[in-house]
Structure formats: structure tokens, C-alpha cells
């Protein structure tokens, strides 16, 4: 197992983890502030990917595709907040799960009606399609480096927003004690709307960025939603820092598990056992990680509420 292979897998893990963080940040904010479990968050990610692919096809500009995805999905999020989420805030978690699950059913059929049931392809920006040489014998795809760069930038931006701006203070206040924040005069409906739209935009950003390297299809949101839920459960629901740590952990463990577990097991077991147990263990490694974290820290690594 060479050093470049490990470095490559580490970068892949970082890239995957950062994208998970973009989605997890929105979900954990919405949960922390609105106290809503929004299972339709994955559908916003899907919407972002579809809009980006469509824009890319029409205009050929990747920047336009990302911006368009953010704007359109932000608007979808706004409508969703005004029409449904607002009514679900006062309801129990079961009603919230069902109400937002209904959105999944509707969203999947709507994208199938517009774009058809077959997966949609999104072109990579031509300038980033090739590899970059990071060291003399280590090539890495330029596009994945861009994803890492954007992911890190957004994470930094979110950190500054939450810790250094007035709106960020309100967000933190709302997350740590919603009732107290209300009593202190925070305009809660506006805050709710802003947070939900921000979450939608972040999810769309992840969808647009991952678009060229995944299959864009109905149901893609539900797949990633579960991974994202694992991230925020590990990190502590409602905590931004927890979402970041959880997403990176899941990104690394999942990538490393798939890349190295079968090889590692061969050191200890017969090849037959390793090749059958390896992929299984890799596929469920993040759930084992979650179970272990929960056994020792039932409220996650960084509980948002004391």
C-alpha cells in the first residue's frame, strides 16, 4: 500500500466529508432552531443537482449552474417554509417526519415528470476535467480539488457567520434556547425563514458541486440523507461544530473502509473470508461508528443543548 494511494484516499475522504458537511450544516441548523426533523432535506440537494445540470446544459457555464442551483433551490426552500414547515413547527416529531416525507414523494415524481426516470448527466467544467500533479508521482483530479476548496471556504464562511455576525448570534441563541431567544425579542418567524432558506442553499450547493461526479436521479436525496443524519447524530443534533466533525469522520471512515478494509482483512484472514466480509464491513462501518459514539455519548460528540 503506497503513500500516494493513502494520500489519494485521504483527499477523497476530505472531499466527501466536506460535501456531507454542506448538507449536514443546513439540516442541523434547521433542527437546532426550528426543532424540525426535515427528511425532505435530501430533496433540496436533489433539486440543486437537477437545476445545476439543466443550467450547465443550457448555458455551458459552471458558475452559472452553481448560482442558478442556489437561487432556485433557495426559492423552493422559501416556498416550502411558508407553505408547510411553518405549520409543522408546532407539531410533534412524527407529524414532521410524515409531512416532510410527503414532500419527498412529491419531489421525486416531479423531477421524474420534468427530466424523466433515467439519470441525468452533468458535464464537468472543461478547464477542470483533467488531473493536477500535486507531487511528481501523485496526480489528483482538479475538479475534486475544487470541491475541497469550495467546501473549506463555505465551512470557514459559516464559522465566521455564526461566530462573528449579528445574525449568527441570533442563530446560536435560537439553537441553544429557542424559548429564551423568543422572550429576548428575536423575531422568530424571520429567523426560521432565513435558516431554512440558508439550509436549502447549502444543500443545493452540495448538489451542484457533486452533480458532475454522481448520477443525478430521483431518489438520490434519500440515499445521502441517511449519511447526513448519521453525521449529525454523531456530532450532536443542532451543533454546527458537531456537524463538521461528524461529516469529516463519516467521510473518512466510509472512504477508508471501502478502500482499505478488504486489503487489511487479508492480512489476518483467508482471502475468501476477506473478500466476502470486507465489503460488508465497509458498507456498515459508519453505522458501527455511530453506534459506538452513541453508546459512550448518547447525545453526540458536541451536544448543542446543555
Amino acid at each position: 500500500m503506497s503513500g500516494t494511494l493513502i494520500a489519494e484516499q485521504l483527499l477523497n475522504g476530505l472531499q466527501f466529508g466536506l460535501m456531507l458537511f454542506l448538507i449536514a450544516a443546513g439540516l442541523t441548523l434547521v433542527f437546532g432552531i426550528l426543532d424540525i426533523l426535515n427528511v425532505a432535506h435530501g430533496s433540496l440537494y436533489m433539486a440543486g443537482a437537477y437545476v445545476a445540470a439543466q443550467t450547465m446544459q443550457v448555458t455551458g457555464s459552471f458558475v452559472a449552474a452553481v448560482l442558478m442551483a442556489a437561487v432556485i433551490t433557495g426559492l423552493v426552500g422559501l416556498v416550502l417554509e411558508l407553505v408547510l414547515v411553518r405549520k409543522l413547527v408546532v407539531r410533534d416529531h412524527l407529524a414532521q417526519v410524515l409531512g416532510t416525507f410527503a414532500v419527498i414523494l412529491i419531489a421525486n415524481d416531479v423531477v421524474k415528470m420534468i427530466w424523466g426516470p433515467a439519470p441525468v448527466m452533468m458535464n464537468m467544467p472543461a478547464s477542470l476535467a483533467g488531473p493536477v500533479s500535486l507531487s511528481p508521482d501523485f496526480l489528483y483530479p482538479a475538479y475534486r480539488l475544487l470541491i475541497i476548496a469550495v467546501g473549506l471556504a463555505v465551512a470557514l464562511g459559516l464559522y465566521l457567520f455564526v461566530t462573528r455576525t449579528r445574525a449568527g448570534v441570533l442563530v446560536r441563541a435560537g439553537a441553544s434556547n429557542r424559548q429564551m431567544a423568543t422572550l429576548m425579542g428575536v423575531r422568530v418567524p424571520l429567523l426560521f425563514m432565513g435558516v431554512f432558506v440558508l439550509g436549502a442553499v447549502l444543500a443545493a450547493l452540495a448538489g451542484a458541486l457533486l452533480g458532475p461526479i454522481t448520477a443525478i436521479q430521483a431518489g438520490m436525496g434519500e440515499q445521502i440523507l441517511i449519511l447526513v443524519l448519521v453525521c449529525i447524530v454523531i456530532g450532536g443534533i443542532g451543533s454546527m461544530r458537531g456537524a463538521f466533525v461528524g461529516a469529516l469522520l463519516v467521510g473518512f471512515v466510509d472512504t477508508a473502509g471501502r478502500a482499505f478494509l478488504p486489503t487489511l482483512l487479508k492480512l489476518f484472514f483467508s482471502p475468501a473470508v476477506a473478500s466476502s466480509v470486507g465489503p460488508t464491513l465497509a458498507a456498515i462501518s459508519i453505522y458501527i461508528l455511530m453506534a459506538v459514539v452513541l453508546v459512550f455519548r448518547p447525545a453526540g460528540l458536541f451536544p448543542a443543548r446543555g
Binding site: 433542527f31 426533523l37 427528511v39 408547510l84 405549520k87 409543522l88 407539531r91 410533534d92 416529531h93 412524527l94 407529524a95 417526519v97 410524515l98 409531512g99 416525507f101 410527503a102 414532500v103 419527498i104 414523494l105 412529491i106 421525486n108 415524481d109 416531479v110 421524474k112 415528470m113 434519500e222 441517511i226 443524519l229 448519521v230 447524530v233 443534533i237 466476502s276 465489503p279 460488508t280 458498507a283 456498515i284 453505522y287 458501527i288 455511530m290 453506534a291 452513541l294 453508546v295 448518547p298 447525545a299
Partner: protein
């Protein structure tokens, strides 16, 4: 319950638990199913609680005899599927409606039961008297494992953790390449039973009807037993039941395992019905569909799971006649129910009649 003894053996019938759970004596914390659970089923008139179900059972028993006369023979198999899903949904209703546990991973137990049948059949064991109990045992053991970890958590964490564990089981079965992996696996033949031929549609129908009716009756007895009363007490106010000395975690875990085993039985029946199993049976959206059935039928109502399964599967069958995009109207309907009829179809019906 005037002595406030800490011993659970202190209570002998449901009345003192009613005192425990009666509203207004102390601030009740927000439960996770509040407003949805209908607790006054006993106030419904007798014709609804006794004669209507018996009438339905009679109709179902006569259905295979009548159906061919009206050229509805095809629907015997359909009704059998509804019955199997009714059992799965009812087992979920037991923990969701009576235990207040919003478990979003019930399809894992359902699918595990189905897979046991398929896997044992691939190994040459298809004797139903062996295979079906094993399916229940495996599903129950899985529920014990998942429940023991996830019941330590509360509220939305519980929802997410049951969901995540179910996904873990889902991926576990996807990675079993020798049993078809993602594509699933066919059964060469249904399970065998002495004196019964499950390849015969009608015989299998009556067997399913008998098993589902017996299971529903068993759940009914459980709900009205001391155990069931304690479970409902926990749903209403867990802290108070804990303070009264009930082993809250154990009671919840037993209910969880019981429901898991019944879901496994339903899965075993479904494997025989479809003669095919695939991991999609336990995808988390399948768990959500089971919850939807319970909500549509009426959460915490004795026949909530049955009504829900019937309504949802009929609707699906009906919508499919007209459009391939049948999820969309289903989603709209679900939204309407969540927003305007939180007690489900049966709940609306009961409210009108009382």
C-alpha cells in the same frame, strides 16, 4: 393508587394505571405522538369495536368463495398481500401507537423475516414449522439488538437511530452477494406445511387470514393486559411511570422485540407471497410507508394498521391504473392527512360516530 408504592406488582388491573395517566394531575411533558394518539377507543359503540371487525373477518373468510362469481379471482392474491401488510403495520402500531416509540426502521425486521425464508430455502430448508419461527426469532433478536441500543435515546434521536440501524441492515443484505445482493433472490418454491399446499392460492389465503387474525387478537390481548396498560402509561408519561417503579426500559424493549418478531412473521409470509425477496423491502422508505399506513389507519387504534394497509394498498393499486406517477397524489394525500386529519381515517370515522 393512593399508597404510591414502588412495586410494579402493586397494581392489579387497569384502573389505577388510568389514575397514573389521567390528565391534569401534573404537567405532562410533550410526548412525541401527542395529538395523534387516540386514547378513548373504549368509548366507541359496541357495533364498531366488536361486530364490525367480526363482520369484516366473515367477509374476508368468504371472499375467495365469492370472488370468482364476480370475476374478482385476481384480487384474492391482492387481499392476501393487504393482510400481510396489515400484520406488519399492526405490529408497528403496537409500539408506535401504544408504546409511543416512533421507530423509523420497522421494515428491517419485516425484511429480515423475509430473508430468513429465502436464505433457508436456498439451503434446502423450507419446512414452514421450522422456517417461520426462525424468521420470528431472527427478527426478534435483531429488534433486541437494535432496541437495546436505541431505546437508551429519546425523541428525535430515537427516530434517527432506528432509521440508521435499519439502513445498516439494508446495506448488510445488499452486500450478501451469494443471496443476490442488490437484485434480491427468488424462492424456488413456497414453504411446506403438512396437509397444506401453499402453492394453492386459496389454501395460502386462509392460512394468512388465520395467522393475521390470531396475531391481531394476540396484540389486542397484550394491549389490554397489565403489560399493555403499563406500556400505555409509559407512552403518556415515562418519568412518572419510572418514579412509580415500573421497569420502563425493559417494558419498552419487550414491546419492541414482540413487534419486531411479528413483523418478521409478516415478512416470512410476504416472502412466500412474492416468492422473491430483495433489500428494497427494508429500505428506509419502506419503514416510512409502514408508518404512513399506521397514521392513515389511525394510530393507537386496534385496527389502525389493518385499515391503513388496506387504504394505502388499494389507493396504490387504483392510482397505478391511471398514472405511473402515483407517488405524487399519495404525497398530497399524506400532507392532507398530516395537516388536517391527524387521527387518520378510522379516527375521523370514530369521531363522527361518537
Amino acid at each position: 393508587m393512593t399508597t404510591h408504592s414502588n412495586s410494579p406488582s402493586d397494581y392489579r388491573d387497569g384502573t389505577n394505571v388510568a389514575a397514573v395517566v389521567s390528565p391534569g394531575t401534573a404537567p405532562v411533558p410533550k410526548s412525541h405522538t401527542d395529538g395523534l394518539v387516540h386514547t378513548a377507543a373504549s368509548t366507541a359503540p359496541r357495533w364498531i369495536t366488536v361486530w364490525l371487525p367480526l363482520g369484516c373477518l366473515l367477509l374476508l373468510a368468504l371472499f375467495p368463495l365469492i370472488a370468482p362469481l364476480f370475476d374478482l379471482g385476481f384480487y384474492v392474491s391482492f387481499v392476501r398481500r393487504v393482510l400481510i401488510y396489515a400484520l406488519a403495520a399492526s405490529s408497528l402500531n403496537f409500539i408506535l401507537g401504544y408504546g409511543g416509540m416512533v421507530a423509523l426502521g420497522h421494515a428491517a425486521f419485516f425484511g429480515a423475516g423475509a430473508y430468513v425464508v429465502a436464505m433457508l430455502s436456498a439451503q434446502g430448508q423450507s419446512q414452514a414449522l421450522v422456517v417461520w419461527p426462525v424468521a420470528m426469532l431472527v427478527a426478534g433478536a435483531l429488534a433486541l439488538l437494535i432496541g437495546a441500543i436505541s431505546l437508551r435515546t429519546r425523541g428525535v434521536y430515537f427516530i434517527m437511530i432506528t432509521l440508521a440501524f435499519a439502513q445498516m441492515v439494508f446495506y448488510l443484505f445488499i452486500s450478501l452477494r451469494q443471496y443476490g445482493g442488490e437484485d434480491g433472490i427468488n424462492l424456488s418454491a413456497p414453504s411446506t406445511l403438512p396437509n397444506l399446499n401453499l402453492s394453492n392460492d386459496t389454501q395460502f389465503y386462509y392460512l394468512v387470514l388465520g395467522i393475521v387474525a390470531a396475531s391481531l387478537w394476540l396484540m389486542h390481548c397484550m394491549v389490554n393486559s397489565r403489560f399493555g396498560r403499563a406500556l400505555q402509561g409509559i407512552r403518556e408519561n415515562e418519568t412518572r411511570m419510572q418514579a412509580l417503579g415500573y421497569p420502563v426500559l425493559q417494558i419498552k424493549l419487550v414491546a419492541f422485540v414482540f413487534a419486531g418478531a411479528l413483523a418478521g412473521l409478516a415478512g416470512a409470509l410476504l416472502a412466500n407471497h412474492n416468492l422473491f425477496v430483495s433489500p428494497s423491502l427494508m429500505h428506509w422508505t419502506a419503514s416510512a410507508n409502514l408508518i404512513i399506513m399506521v397514521i392513515v389507519g389511525g394510530i393507537g387504534l386496534r385496527f389502525g394498521g389493518v385499515v391503513g394497509a388496506a387504504v394505502m394498498l388499494l389507493l396504490e393499486e387504483f392510482l397505478r391504473l391511471y398514472t405511473e406517477y402515483w407517488h405524487l397524489p399519495m404525497g398530497v394525500l399524506l400532507l392532507v392527512i398530516v395537516l388536517f386529519a391527524p387521527r387518520g381515517v378510522a379516527g375521523v370515522f370514530l369521531r363522527r360516530s361518537t
